[in-house]
Amino acid sequence: MAALLEVKQVWKEYGSSIVLEKLNLSVKEGEFCTIVGTSGCGKTTFLRMLLGEEGPTRGSLLLDGKPMPAEPGPDRGIVFQRYSVFPHMSVLDNVTFGLEVTRSPLLGRLFGGARRKARDEAAAMLAQVGLSQALERYPSELSGGMQQRLAIAQALIKKPRILLLDEPFGALDPGIRADMHALVLRLWKESGLTIFMITHDLKEGFKLGTRLLVFDKPRLDAQAPNRYGATITYDLAIDRQEPALLEEIQGAVTETSRFNDQQ
């Protein structure tokens, strides 16, 4: 099977500081890649390149063998850490919106039977993430976990091929987190999605993914901390938990993190 996503020798620089360097990656349809790395090492930047919001400074990004579109599109859904949902729409409208924009190309608003049908579909999607009780509420009336579930439902209604999750559960307490893990795994298994998920929690990365990508700076230069960018230092297929490996990765990442703090 040909790769869905191909990253070849990608560099990303902002001005004189190099954020990412020499990224090489090939991901097949249906993989669940979890991404870990220290704060500021360029994980979000990588997701933004997959979205098309940012282009690589050098190298190429291929989606289905073709260059990545230069702007976001409906084949790549995203859940940000915050601000993912529209504050002025009710829960139901937030999810219906994705259907309305394609079915009503001019106004992005449906009426009558078409509207009822779209709302039913959205309500069914919301039932899957357990938000049936909150259809008419505004996002500001929801807890953090409910907002993230809403954001997931909103992204999934478009049936994207790739789902990008940027620390989606960072702010949630452990109990809710476990529920969310179960939810994401179930949705992933049912839909055949390809998922990229950033997390700060290495255990979470191991638990959810089929593949773990560690972003880290292989070279640390105290004189010029921005001279070298981060790259993928570990790219592991996860079939079982290996405590020794987990410790090794944790050690390397922590070292970079300490180095950053001293700068």
Binding site: L51, E53, E71, P72, G73, P74, R76, G77, I78, F80, R82, Y83, S84, V85, F86, P87, H88, F97, G98, E100, V101, T102, P105, L106, L107, G108, R109, Y138, P139, S140, E141, Q154, A155, K158, P160
Partner: protein, 275 residues
């Protein structure tokens, strides 16, 4: 334990009493000042007694003007509010359209934002003579002054508000398949409208300022016209009630706009204390 003053909250009743206090104090100070001056000189016109103010109000509000046959206060109010209303409506529309365009579209921003910024620095009063020459002494020039007086600042404000929307939302909308028009219509504009109301509320004061200035210089009716007309006779008994009336009108408009915003955009007000 005693709390810090920044943590001590007044109850509802206390807040209402505290809020009324400055008004009462002002009224008392006026009554006292007026009495002192009138005792010294019964002909004094500067601070008329409260009773003569009431009589003047009755005259302008309830008795037909001897020359025109109109109820003067209401005729003036209608003339002024019409000018002001048209001016506010036009300025809001201009601000909304320009703010959305410059806030959302980088090319339009590049073309228009510097121009709007310079425009907002033109002192509106300095071009009033030009307005009178170009638009004549009729209604149009007064409306134009109100518009020119507040629209540029509102445009800048709204551009800023639009640009402050989290970029995550725009990216999100694109990942849901929306095109620029749909993002404008469904994501950005609905969130800009309550901010437009905020901007309008803040600009009510300046709008009245420009309206009264224009009426003072050339008009045959209007609240500003009346104040500057009776100024010649030192008719404080008319001027003071007019000033209070104008203030009250502005205050009521502000309240009404706040009410509209709360009713139409409940999500905007949730969990936030807004003035």
């Amino acid at each position: 334990m005693k709390k810090r003053i920044i943590n001590r909250l007044p109850g509802q009743g206390a807040a209402a009493v505290l809020g009324l206090l400055p008004f009462l104090l002002l009224l008392l100070a006026y009554a006292w000042g007026s009495q002192v001056r009138l005792e010294a000189n019964p002909e004094d016109k500067l601070l008329p007694a409260l009773s003569s103010l009431a009589a003047a109000v009755e005259r302008v509000a309830l008795e037909p003007n001897r020359r025109t046959g109109e109820l003067q206060l209401w005729a003036d109010t209608a003339a002024s509010l019409q000018r002001l209303g048209i001016g506010l409506a036009v300025a809001s529309l201009l601000a909304l359209v320009t703010g959305l365009a410059t806030g959302m579209v980088p090319y339009v921003r590049a073309a228009l934002a510097p121009f709007v910024r310079v425009l907002s620095m033109v002192p509106p009063m300095a071009i009033l003579p030009i307005l009178f020459i170009v638009f004549g002494l009729g209604e149009l020039s007064k409306v134009v002054l109100v518009v020119l007086g507040i629209a540029p600042c509102m445009m800048r404000d709204l551009q800023q508000r639009v640009m402050e929307l989290p970029s995550e939302q725009l990216v999100k909308a694109q990942t849901l398949g929306a095109h620029s028009g749909q993002i404008l219509w469904r994501v950005v504009m609905p969130q800009t409208l309550p901010r437009l109301i905020d901007s309008l509320r803040l600009n009510l004061g300046p709008a009245f300022l420009f309206l009264i200035a224009a009426e003072a210089i050339a008009a045959e009716s209007g609240l500003g016209y009346r104040i500057f007309l009776v100024r010649r006779y030192l008719a404080m008994d008319t001027i003071l009630p007019y000033v209070v009336w104008i203030t009250l009108l502005a205050f009521l408009m502000d309240m009404a706009l706040r009410g509209v915003s709360r009713w139409a955009f409940p999500w905007f007000h949730q969990g936030k204390e807004r003035a």
